[in-house]
Structure formats: C-alpha cells, structure tokens
Symmetry: D2
Subunit: 339 residues, 4 copies
C-alpha cells in the first residue's frame, strides 16, 4: 500500500542522510554551539539578507510552537489563529498547557485576515479578558493554501500597528516558497517577528529552524529552550541537516517536487469532477469524494479521512512529499481517473 | 447616580454583616477547619440530602473556577463551555493559565446543549487533539437564562455516559433556585459532579461554596486549594457567611428579591417596546436600545454597555441585586417608560 | 483554651470592622477601581514619599506571593529565598506551580544574606541551570527576626548590581516597622523593587497591599491579577481596610502592641531558662521546652509544635496579635513561670 | 583536541547509523505507531520478562523527565531527588516549569537513600506543604556511582510502603547494567514504577525509551506526550535505534566499553595520586587536580570544569563514550602519568 498520508512517512532526503553519515564520527560540542549549527545559521542569514537575527534549531513543530509562543507571551496574553490553525486543533492543547489561550475566528481559505484580527481586538478591550498579543499563521496553510507576499505584508503592517507579534509556522515552508506571488525567505524575515523553517516535513530526518527577527524576543531564548526540554544534546545533527537543505536550492527543489506531484493528482481529481475543498497549489489536496470511491482508493492507497460530509460523501486529504516518486503520482492519477 | 452595573456594588447583606460582627472577636483555628465552616457545611449537606460530599469555601468566582477545573483535569484535557461561558470570556484566560483549553460552541439561549457537547466529542477523536473531560455551565447563565431541571438532568445523563464531568458555576445560583421548573439545590447535587453556591453576587461580603459530589474529585483538594493561593487564612469568615445565607431561606429570599426587581424593570422595557436580547427571568436583563435613549439613561443610572449593534443601537445590561431597593426599581421603571 | 497559635485567630480589628460597617451600603464600582482603594493608595504613597508606584490590593499572602513572583519572572527564572522562607515551605509549592524554582540556602538568623545570594549566583552560570532573577525576603521573618535598615540597603545594593529584583513579603510588616533600627515604610519602598503590606496578620479582616516600585514590573499587572484569580470583585473592601489601617498610626499601634505582648511572654520564658531558638523581638517566639512542660501548656493554651528536638524536648511557637489582651499575656507569663 | 567532555560528542554508533540508513526509504505511519517501534518494545518486554508495561520513545533526557514527572504528579505534589539530581540542577527548572517542586537532601555518594526520603516525608506532614509523591534517581548517577540491586530494592520497598512512585532516569543506564552487583533491566522493571533506557548518551543518534510499569501511570500517556511537544512525527527513527541497541547485547557492549575506557584513565589518575571525588566505576570520572595540571591537560584535551576547590585546585570531569577509541584512552592515560 502506497501512502499519501503525510510528508513524514519516510526518513530523510538522501542528501541530508549523506551529510549525517559523513559527519557522524566527528566530535563537536553539544547543544547547538557547534560549527555545523553556525554554518546553517550563516546560510539562513545570507538568504534573508539579515545577520541581526537569532536562530535556534528544534526537533519538532509542536515543540517549536509551544516553546516560542510561551516565550513571547505573558501569562495573561493570548495568540490569535484561525480555527484551522495547527496550534488550535492538532497539538493536544500544547499552547494552552503553557498557559495561553488561542483566540480564533473561522478561516478564510485557510488563512487569517486583517479583519479577523481587528474583530478579535475589539472584543478584548480590558483586563477582564485575555490580551491578544500575537498572531500565528502557517505557510503553506493547514489547508494547502498560502499567503501571498502582499497578504503577508498587510498582516505585518496591521500587527505592527496594533502591537501584536506576527509568528509564521513554516512546517511546510518549502511548498510555498516556490510559488510565484508567495513571499521568499527574505520577505518572510522582513514581514514577521519570527518564523520557523520546517525540516521534518521538508526532507530533514527531523528538525525545525526558528528565526527570531524582533529584538524583543531574543534575550535568553536558550534558557527557555532548555526549560521546555527542547534543546537537543547533539544539536549538530540539526545544524548538519539545515546546512544541507539550505546551502543551495535543495529546500526549494523539494518544495517544487512535492507540489508537482500534488498537481498531477489534483488534475486527475478535477478531471474526474471531484470538488476540491480548497484550491491548493501546494502538497496537500483536500477533496470531497463519494464514500464508495474512497473505499476503492483505500484498497491500494493510504490517505487521511478528514470529515464526513453527508451519508454518502466524505472529505479526504492527499499529501505528497520529497519522497513521492513521479511514477507513483502518475499511477495514483491513473487510478483516480479509472474510479 | 444609582448603579445597575452588577450585583456586587454594595458590601454584604445586613444579616450577613451582623453575623460577621457578632463572631468577630472569637478565636478559631484557621484555614476552614473552624466550627462555623462545619456548620455551613452541615446546612448545605442537609439541603442536598447528601452528607457524602466535600465542601470547600473560596473567596471569588474566577478563583473557584480555575482552582476546581485545574484540579479535575489532566494536562491534556479540556473543558467544554458555550462561547458566552464566564471561563471563556471574562476570566482573562485564567483556566488556560492553569494549562487547559476551553472548547466552545455558540450558545443556545446562553446555554450548553447535549448536541453541542456531542459535536465537540466527535471533533476530538484522538491524542493529537485535546481530550474533552468536563462540561462547564452556569446557573443562572451569563445571559440571565437558566437550565430547567430536565435540561440539567439531560446534560448530566449525557456527560456521565460520555465520561465527562459536569461542573455548575452557581455565582448567581439564588436567582435560578427560586424559579419554578429550575432544579433545586438537591437536584443540582444529584445532577452534577460538582457545583458552587455563589456568595459574592448573592449577598455575601465575598465567598463561594464549592460542593464536590463525585468521589473521584475529592482526594487532597485542600492541598490544591493552598497550592493555588485560594485557602483563606481566616476561613471562618466564609463559614459564618454561608451559614447565615443558607441556614434558612435567606439565600432564596435574596434570589427572589433580585428577580422581582429585575422583572419590574423588564416590564417597563417591554412596555416601551425595546427588544430583549434574551427572555431573562433572573436578575440580569439584556436589552437593545437606541443610543439616544442609552445616553439619557446614563445621565441618571449606571448600566453596562455590552455591544454596539448598529450605528444607532446598542445592547446594554441591567443587573439587580439583594440591595436593589424596590423604590429604586420602580423609579427606574418609570424613568424608562418616560424615555 | 486561649490561642497563641497565630495572628489570624480573630476577625478584624474593631476600627477596621467599623469602617466596613459604615461603608457597607454604599455603591461603588468593582475590582479595586473605587474611591476607597484610591484613598488607601494615597495614604500609602504619602507614607513612602513616592507617588510613582503602582499599588494593588489582594486577599491573602500566598496569593500575593504567587501572583507577583509569577508576574516578575520568565519561565526559566528562579527566586532566591532562605530555606525557612514562606514560599519555600509553607505555600504547598504555589510558586513552583506557577513554574518557578525556589533556590535556597540555609538561613542566617531567619534571613537571607548577600553571601548567600552571591553563592547561588556563582552556582548558576549558564543556560543549563535556572537563572536567578529575584530575591524574596520577609519582614519580620518567619522566625521572628527582622532586617535592619542597613541590612536591607545592603541587600538592595547587591541585588541591583546583579540584576536581581528584591521583593519583600510584609505579611507581618507592622511588627518590624516599630523597631528602632528597622527600615520604615519609606525605606522599604526605597530599598526594594516591590513589597507588600500585610493586612491579614495585622488586624485587617483580610487583605494585602502590594506596592510595586520598579517601573519594569508595573505594566499590565491588573491583567495578571485577574488571570490568577486574585482580583476581588468587591475590591473596595480592601481599600476601606487599608485606608483605616494606614491613614494614621493604627498599623504601627497594632505592631507595637503585639510585640509588647510577645515580650511579656518572652521574658517569662527567659526567666524560666528555656532557650529561645531565635532572639525574636517581634510577635513570634520560638522556644525549646521539655515535652512535659509543653503538655502542661497545652492543657490551657493553643500553641504550635514546630519540631521534635530530641526524645524529651521540642520547639514550639507562640504568636501574639492585635487581639492579644494584655491580661491574657500576663496570665500566660505567670503560667509559664509556674511550670 | 580530543574531547572527553561528554558522551554525546559524536553522532550514532555505526550499527545504529546503519539501521537508520537501511530503513530510510521505507514508508511507515507516524508518531510511534510503526512496526519498528513495536519491535523495539518487544525486545524490551522480553528483556524485562514483563509484557504488561507501556513503552514510549522520546527524543531527549530533560524532555523525558519533565514529560513523565508532570504526568505522574498532581499540581500540589513534589518529586524527591538528591541535590545533585539532574532534574534539580541541570535542566533549567524544567520540572518546576511544569509546576512541581523538587525536594532535595544532600546526596550520599551521588545517591538518594531511604533515610533521606524518610526525613523529607516527616518534614511534609500536611496541606500547607507540598506533598512528596515521587522519588527520582539516576542509574548510573550524576557522579558516576550506581545503585546496587539491593539498594534499588530497598528504595522500592520503602517508596511502595509510603505511597511514593520510584522513577529511574537511565540516561547512562548501560554503564551500570554491566556492573556485577547492579540491577539488570528486569530488576529495574521490578523495582521501579517507571524508568527510561537512555539512548542519546549510549550510542543512539538521539532518543530515550520510557518504560512505565505501574498501571496507574499508563492511561492516556500519548496525549500527554503530544501535549508536551514530545511526540516525534517520525517516531520510527526511535524504534529503529532502540531495536538495534537492545535486540542483542549492543547496549551492554557499549556500556562495558565506555567503562573500560574510563578505568584506563582512572588508573592513571590514581597512579598519579590525584584524589577521586567519587569512586566511580562507570564512564564519568570526577577528580581533583592542581590547576597547573588542568591547564596542561586542556592544551590537548577537552574536559569539564566542575568546581573550584581552593586557590590552586579544581575538580574536573572526564567522560568516555561508545566512541572513545582505546588508543585515545591509552594516550590520555600516558599523558596524565607524565604530568
């Protein structure tokens, strides 16, 4: 059974694995203070044309979100997300467990909008309510859509004017980076207070690179990292991986590949007339199918059930990755067309 | 300016104050282990025909909610409320600050329904999402409505079947206790896992009496109380007050009085044709008025702005209390009629 | 049985009670924004010759400690106390429950010293250990001793130089204020970053007045207060009480009285040759007695067992208060002499 | 410069790395539900002759400690450790950050003793103090010593009688497993409520295997794991590694090797007459040297400064690992002898 369940079904991209193998026997100091982490930081700083940022490497996405959000917020402050935000639904209350409410409004194409934030601010005028202090967005979004450069800039302008931090979760950043009107990494560094470059879902064995741009969010972050159990002893493993992913175009190559594989499948679904839930151009396809067809698909493929729509139809999710072979994508597309 | 802002604008009901005065110079042990707390517990146990409960006295409502909810839930568990639930909006994220997500759906007449809970349960199937473990309701509700005995029983049956605790916030319990089809205190003890009998908003100087019915929620609660800074040194102040309120019908008398005062005002509003937001029969009236009339009211009365409805209309809240003199209620009713 | 268990065995000082009675029926706004809280703040600011402080009224000592300490510290920061510090032993882990380690060294006469702090700082050099960020002291101390003005100044100088906050718990402040070489309230405001003026143990029915001097610790404290369940609805109860205690010399009168009562008892103990554990000049006497004598005492008096010393001896604590009648102190002194 | 800084200076043991390479391109489900994690669990269950345990794989030691301890304790409960316990000193307050006090007494040869626990229990009699609920120990200890099977059994008997959980941190478990009178893995499973088998410091690339023996500590642990950001997406990476380490004697071989390398160095130190701080037989050597000799060592080797002893002497730590080549150990021993 071939799996389109998610983008972390395999280990690491071969080039990342090679880098781990070749550096395996070297001795380095621990906790991210090694030369590989420094090299990885350097390539990130060069990419964003900004050397005045702090960069930290963490192991996973939920860990990165809870560690950074709890660092940035005071006890009585809340983070704004859309209802489909990963921190709101898929992290088992990890952000709340650090003491912070997640304030939400229904998403617009999987995204947070300025109107949504403005409305939440108006609803929270005084000290009897939590104080909204951060906006959390994902690029690409949980529903496979993405923020354009203009949208990101508009969000940042508004959050800046309203004394809110803007934090971008880039678990699947590569899939959006390669889209035409999407912000590149330098844009993201310019239009957020902090963001993370996802590794786990983008070809690393594991790891996320958190880039803190806003000076107010830098001091003592390593203490916080350790305090949350998020400082990896062999930190160099993260440095080696991110250096490999980001030193040239590998990260974008992976993003482009997974999007292309997804588009092969999307076209088959559209040709077949299945309604797409979202017009995704990234590596996650949400589509509504008759249950009978889903049953047939599941005889040969692993996909994710998202939601029962009515007695006879359900929404499913199909995800491609760096590891999705073109022949598998084509075979799946054919299979769909013949349903 | 006469205030209809809330039900805690004055100090204590004269009988409660008298009891505090008369016991003031007595020596007792601290922390709620004194004879007055015991007497207060006894009258509560007699009222609910159940001596197998644990009763603790706390100072305020938010304190009681955060202390009890954080006691009952594990780190990964969430509490269900309606969107207007006090813990969701008016406690500055106090429940989240103890580590727990508040899961909400839009209220139905200010209330939580079985359907709402069922839907939330269906949306939280596995360990990647918080685990709903408690339902929080208020009697009377934040919008002045109340649960009937049948409604409470239905909620309890469903929560019991689904392994959820049912917790009732009785900050304004007295206002509902005196209504015909509402559950009495014994019913509430029968159809919840825990509830609290509000004092602060019901004529006490301060204080809330938490009644824990479910055996699983009893052990070591006094440790937790102290751990959350919620164990009053001079605990006997709480015992004295609740004994006074509950030893005969004072608590209900207060509830009846504040409802009657509210109905005098409500009738004037209805006569005048102002649309009530909710058909409240308790001491909180939510009503929609032209801004011009609100301006006139505010020249002589203090009321709460709830929400701007459109360019010309807003929703306000009027609250009566044990201290609302009938002549003031009548004078306000007249004033409204002459707007 | 007369109780020397503690200084919160009775209700409120008669003058405080009177003030509560006389203001009981007035309507005020809630949450500490009323005129009485303002008047209480004014008298405090006048006493300390500093109007650039923030003052908040809370209900109890553990609540005040946990609320303020958790406000001042980041997740990875710790508070330094001596091993006998109230927050370290007698608050059921309330400070840790807000996420912060309490770092301790053995006390010197019940006190924290500069050497102690310096040693702790040296032991915590990097991000693999918590970061000491605050020093917590009590005046008078848990063992009945007190910091002289010079000692307080030395602590403040050192903490300031080392980027640590100095927070003074004044649960029993009045008993130290009246001692010759002790700092007065203005000194305390000058040589701490924040302190609280205890009410519960000093003749108030309940309540503590937190004075925040350091500008960095002021912003949004009311949000935090509510978030921790520590904002009293009828805040004016606290304002009325502190205004009464502090508007003239009542607070000091109470402190002087309880010290004098303690000295009557101390003299009897010394005359009898019982070794004092600490040379207390405040209202707490720690003394080591044969168990046989303790048994006799307990037939007529309530006192606190502190510690078993050996097979035949134990340490006990005797506490006087605003309510200790001179005739009772004298009677107890006689009783001791005749043991 | 050759490093004896710690046992995580290199990547993974070659056999572990090979296993990761060979499974890299396989598709598996995420979050530890894959066949490799199952195989790893099976070999652990076989080793301990107990299939009625729950096993979870985490990434790092601090993460494992904070996740498990916060799972086992209620808000008002504390964990007992010796003053040198890793959770007490080297985790930046991670356990306190989850809300729990760490209660300590000075270590005895790096270890917790029954007397120590008894004393702490006596000091915590009631609800005004935290409730001790767990004992935390490390095997081998932070100072290179270890618990014998008899010592472990005595601790377990005592903790069981006193209603305390016993949790063993096995970050360096392999170094103790191979010692004659030390408990084997089956003994540890028998005489603890939970323990973890360290990977990071024992030849894995990363990872710790938590074994929960006590039934009361099993329910819903996966929720808690996710809630703390500790559930690895590509969980199979952990399964692959632990299966490789534990399926035959690799784990013990590594432990034996690192101990042997340490003994080569220890003998040189002893021959030279340097006083050992602790009589370690595991892979950590603590030894007191003249500063002049330390300076010479540091020209060629990386070691850890532990403590300044006096003007001229300091304590250092030397750590060997699976990767320490025998020729390097011998070369270092020679170097020491020629100091």
């Amino acid at each position: 059974m071939y799996s389109f369940l998610n983008d972390y079904s395999e280990g690491a991209h071969p080039l990342v694995l090679d880098a781990l193998i070749h550096t395996n026997s070297e001795q380095t100091v621990g906790y991210g203070l090694d030369p590989y982490c420094q090299k990885a930081k350097d390539v990130i700083m060069n990419r964003i044309h900004n050397h005045d940022v702090d960069i930290h490497f963490l192991v996973g996405g939920t860990q990165t979100n809870l560690t950074f959000i709890s660092f940035a917020l005071r006890d009585y402050q809340a983070v704004i997300a859309c209802d489909e935000g990963h921190i709101n639904i898929h992290e088992t209350g990890a952000v709340e467990a650090t003491g912070h409410k997640v304030l939400t409004k229904p998403h617009v194409s999987g995204k947070v909008t300025v109107d949504m934030i403005r409305e939440i601010l108006q609803e929270h005028p005084d000290e009897h309510m939590v104080q909204p202090a951060m906006v959390y967005i994902s690029q690409s979004t949980e529903l496979g859509t993405y923020y354009t450069k203009d949208e990101l800039q508009a969000l940042f302008t508004f959050t800046r004017e309203n004394n809110l931090y803007l934090f971008l979760d880039g678990a699947r950043l590569g899939s959006a980076l390669v889209l035409d009107d999407a912000p590149d990494m330098a844009d993201i560094a310019k239009y957020t207070d902090a963001f993370y470059i996802g590794g786990t879902k983008m070809g690393a064995m594991f790891g996320e690179a958190l880039v803190i741009v806003n000076d107010h969010l830098k001091k003592d972050f390593r203490y916080h990292l350790k305090n949350k159990g998020a400082m990896l002893a062999k930190g160099r493993l993260l440095g080696v991986q991110f250096y490999t992913l980001l030193k040239d175009s590998l990260y974008e190559d992976i993003g482009r590949h997974e999007n292309e594989m997804a588009m092969i499948i999307r076209e088959a679904l559209e040709e077949k007339g299945y309604p797409l839930y979202m017009p995704s151009t990234t590596n996650q396809i949400f589509v509504d199918l008759p249950n009978t067809d889903i049953t047939k698909i599941e005889e040969q493929y692993m996909i994710t059930h998202i939601k029962k729509l009515d007695q006879d139809h359900s929404r499913i999710r199909i995800v491609t990755s760096w590891a999705t072979a073109e022949e598998e994508a084509l075979r799946f597309a054919d299979f769909i067309k013949q349903l």
